[in-house]
């Protein structure tokens, strides 16, 4: 991890791997969408509406994963003072917020025809809504506090305290009696989804993961450039 602490070394690695990450992302989306829209059969109860699952579930997985990345990066920043950890946490937040929003919106578009309601305040939906608020709050801190070191300290606290919501989201369907169905892929006794529906879902999950990696590396590179600009501007003011 300390190997990547040097921004110059990080940029060298990011610049080298990014074209490959983008290429893999495009290939995974092509295969995943073909599976989701062409080869996967309609569900015997939900019909074609089941295809919403291929964009809803990966978005929900990524919303949880990205927040976990933010919390881990915040912990690393607080404990080891890793120079790029705060950059990693800060730049992951807008990406995670979009995934979280898409999870809520596509879930709502599935809920209306299947449950007869756009929204219900059940434990899974409510905890995902709280996650969305945590993302917004985290980004608001970076936007509101001008001094980066102070902003980073406050943002770390929010990311770490908010992490308690992640297991609540994951296990909400087990701990409470919810309208949302229980886990059907990551289960101790194996997935309960049929193979022809499962593989497109897993490929779409991988596509979303690689998209996050590509966007995160790009956003980190941009943030390093933004900090360099700030340093140059401060140095110029000092020289005057």
């Amino acid at each position: 991890m300390q190997f990547l602490a040097n921004p110059t070394r990080f940029l060298k690695i990011a610049n080298a791997v990014l074209p490959y990450v983008w290429a893999i992302t495009i290939a995974l989306f092509a295969v995943g969408l073909y599976g989701a829209l062409v080869t996967a059969p309609p569900d015997y109860q939900q019909g074609e509406t089941v295809r919403i699952m291929y964009v809803h579930v990966p978005a929900a997985w990524m919303a949880l994963f990205v927040y976990t990345v933010m919390a881990l990066a915040s912990a690393v920043a607080a404990i080891f003072r890793h120079p790029l950890a705060d950059v990693a946490a800060k730049t992951a937040a807008p990406i995670g917020a979009v995934f979280c929003f898409l999870s809520l919106a596509t879930g709502s578009l599935w809920g209306k025809p299947m449950w007869g309601a756009w929204w219900v305040w059940d434990a899974r939906l409510t905890s995902m809504f709280v996650l969305m608020l945590l993302y917004i709050g985290y980004m608001a801190i970076w936007a509101a506090i001008e001094e980066p070191h102070r902003a980073a300290m406050v943002a770390r606290v929010v990311a770490l305290v908010g992490f308690i919501n992640i297991p609540i989201v994951k296990f909400s369907v087990d701990w409470w009696n919810t309208l949302h169905q229980p886990a059907s892929v990551f289960r101790a006794d194996g997935p309960t989804i049929a193979g022809p529906m499962l593989w497109p879902l897993l490929v779409m999950g991988l596509a979303y993961s690689f998209l996050f990696l590509a966007l995160h590396l790009t956003a980190m590179r941009a943030e390093i450039a933004a900090r360099k600009i700030r340093q140059i501007q401060i140095a110029e003011i000092g020289e005057r």
Partner: protein
């Protein structure tokens, strides 16, 4: 996919929404990266010239 199926509008809306937001995120991220790296490069070159 059967485009005459019940509730197909909800499926199309889900994919359209996902496409719009993810495309927007990609364009914004790549645009910011390109703009900031160019600005950093410009300021760095300007500074080096001033020192020389």
């Amino acid at each position: 996919m059967d485009f005459s199926a019940d509730h197909i509008g909800f499926v199309i809306a889900s994919y359209a929404l996902s496409f719009i937001f993810l495309a927007g995120l990609i364009i914004t991220t790549l645009g910011r990266d390109r703009k900031l790296r160019a600005e950093a490069e410009r300021l760095d070159t300007q500074r080096k010239k001033a020192r020389a």
